[in-house]
């Protein structure tokens, strides 16, 4: 996985590089077109100037004053039908028939060519024109070395600008990434250093950018949950240890008493039965504790299903010993039906009735008053 910093830098560099390159290309094309247009315009102007220097003379045309102008390139003068009239130098004849614009020069080099077209030339001074030329076209071709050099210079300049922009963008992106990621690194470090016992991570929400505050707040919420969970587990372990110690003490004391001296088989049997009863109570206690733990942790959810209230209550009362059941007095009506978790309801009822039976004075009455879905258990046991 590529790091955020690297993505930021690479992305920025690529974006800047691409946009700079595109801009450079566009600029180069524009500059090139402009330079080429200017060069061609100069050629046309110079060709037109040469056209003005052509005179009609015996046998055709000639240069005014008999002097070949220095055109700085290849000159070809033709008539309207393409008949060559003047060439300078001689190799200029190779230019005939080529279109304006870029051209392969007679010396093999590259150049540009333009034409100028004009009417019949004026006769040379004192010349008697025997075969007048109806129209003239002067073709002028020059090497484009200077143009190419200029264009190359422009291209390199633009490339250099693109490279510089890319480099600057990379540096800026790296700095920006460092600045942007500093609060993220701070939060990551604070979260890495947090332990379940911490109330919050070592970053205040108001000290981080607004976009990261939900991260800090969520991390604090998770820490609070973890801390509450740790506290819940500690309290549960303490509660379980506390609740189990007393029946365990009863079990050990029963065994100690039985083993203190030689006893009859009946006495040993009675001791074992007492121990068995204590173990049964302890098992039920453990189940209740585990259920409470699961409910507190949210890992156990109560079912929602139809419950026959009176049937559940009757099943709980059926578990009582006959002597305890005889103390129960029913009042009101049957316990109403409802919707809930039948097992949990049975556990609660068993606990309530069991507590009343265990703690009420022996032989005292225990009243179960049901009214609709409400059940009240009244007894004379001391307050727990």
């Amino acid at each position: 996985m590529i790091s955020i910093r690297r993505r930021l830098v690479l992305g920025t560099v690529l974006a800047v590089s691409a946009s700079s390159a595109l801009a450079g290309v566009a600029a180069f094309i524009s500059v090139r077109a402009h330079l080429v247009a200017a060069a061609d315009a100069k050629l046309r102007t110079d060709a037109a100037g040469l056209l003005a220097l052509v005179r009609g003379c015996e046998g055709g045309v000639c240069w005014a004053g008999g002097r070949i102008p220095d055109a700085g390139g290849w000159v070809l003068v033709t008539d309207g039908s393409g008949r060559r009239l003047l060439t300078h130098p001689e190799s200029a004849g190779a230019l005939a028939g080529q279109p304006d614009g870029p051209v392969r020069l007679p010396d093999g080099g590259s150049g540009r060519m333009a034409c100028a077209v004009g009417p019949a030339p004026a006769p040379a001074h004192g010349a008697r024109v025997q075969c007048p030329v109806p129209a003239l076209m002067v073709t002028l071709a020059r090497p484009d070395t200077a143009l190419r050099s200029t264009l190359a210079t422009v291209a390199w300049a633009l490339a250099g600008a693109t490279a510089a922009a890319t480099a600057l963008a990379g540096l800026a992106a790296a700095a920006l990434a460092r600045a942007v990621l500093r609060p993220v690194a701070g939060i990551a470090g604070a979260i890495a250093g947090a332990s379940p016992g911490d109330a919050c991570i070592a970053v205040r929400p108001e000290s981080v950018p607004r976009e990261l505050r939900p991260v800090v707040e969520r991390a604090d919420a998770f820490l609070a949950n973890a801390r509450a969970q740790v506290e819940r587990e500690r309290r549960t372990a303490a509660d379980i240890a506390h609740e189990l110690r007393t029946p365990l003490a009863g079990l050990i004391a029963t065994a100690d008493l039985a083993l203190a001296r030689e006893r009859s088989a009946a006495d040993y049997r009675a001791a074992i039965e007492r121990g068995r009863a204590i173990a049964g109570d302890t098992a039920r206690l453990v189940e209740r504790l585990l259920m409470l733990t699961r409910l507190e942790a949210g890992s156990e959810t109560a079912r929602r299903e139809p419950i026959a209230g009176e049937a559940v209550l009757a099943a709980c009362l059926a578990d009582l010993a006959p002597v305890d059941a005889a103390r129960l007095q029913r009042a009101g009506g049957p316990l109403a039906d409802g919707v809930g978790d039948g097992d949990h309801l049975a556990t609660v009822l068993r606990n309530l009735v069991g507590n009343a039976v265990a703690h009420a004075p022996p032989g005292s009455a225990i009243e179960l008053h049901a009214e609709g879905s409400r059940l009240a258990i009244s007894n004379q046991a001391p307050r727990l």
Partner: protein, 226 residues
């Protein structure tokens, strides 16, 4: 020893009481705080085994009331709360010993004897009256180095008199130390046990050490009290 056991969990209470009684102790028992306080405030016990979490009145409150009333009965707290802060709180509330459940009954008895020893005759383990030497820790008696065989009731009577050697101990007090609250007081039984004691001491050569002060009680001393 005359003891009070206040514990709401019936199987544990019954086993502790039975074990202590089999060892010759006189034991009263209560299953809730109110009953425990009712017994403790009106009777004098050589030691009290007190659970902290009781229905009604809690063990801490019973202890607080006893100490507020100036009672210095040795109290051994027997409780499921085992964390250090709980132990400190229990001891600072006035308990003389703090035992976390579960505990072996033999250890419980040994701790109760230690409490009673510390509370008696300067905490001495042995008491000598004339040729009679009682080892209160080992629960043994000897005359001139020869062991004296005593029943549990005879030992209870003799040890009560020995802890108050030289002083007159009322018959009621002797009864309370030897019989629990469920027994109907019967002076003849005390007389019978004392008569057996006198006979055994005389036969062992200790002479007459148990003296009767008519209308007041009995005294264990080499010479009759003035």
């Amino acid at each position: 020893m005359r003891l009070l056991v206040v514990e709401d969990y019936a199987p544990l209470r019954e086993a502790v009481v039975a074990y202590l009684r089999e060892d010759g102790c006189v034991v009263d028992a209560a299953g809730d705080g109110e009953e425990g306080w009712w017994l403790a405030k009106d009777e004098a016990y050589e030691a009290i085994v007190l659970d902290r979490q009781l229905p009604g009145l809690g063990g801490d409150e019973i202890l607080r009331r006893l100490r507020a009333a100036g009672r210095r009965d040795p109290v051994l707290m027997l409780t499921a709360r085992g964390e250090v802060p709980e132990r400190i709180a229990g001891l600072e509330a006035g308990a003389d010993d703090y035992v976390v459940k579960p505990v072996a009954l033999g250890e419980l008895l040994a701790r109760l004897r230690a409490l009673v020893r510390r509370a008696s005759v300067g905490g001495a383990d042995t008491v000598a009256i004339g040729a009679l030497v009682l080892d209160l820790g080992r629960r043994s008696a000897a005359v001139a180095g020869r062991p004296l065989e005593l029943t549990a009731k005879e030992w209870s009577l003799l040890s009560v008199l020995a802890r108050r050697a030289g002083a007159v101990v009322a018959r009621d007090e002797l009864w309370r130390h030897c019989y629990d609250m469920n027994e109907e007081p019967n002076p003849n039984r005390i007389e019978a046990h004392l008569a057996n004691l006198r006979r055994k001491l005389a036969a062992a050569g200790a002479g007459e050490l148990i003296h009767t002060r008519r209308g007041l009680g009995y005294c264990l001393a080499p010479e009759p009290p003035p």
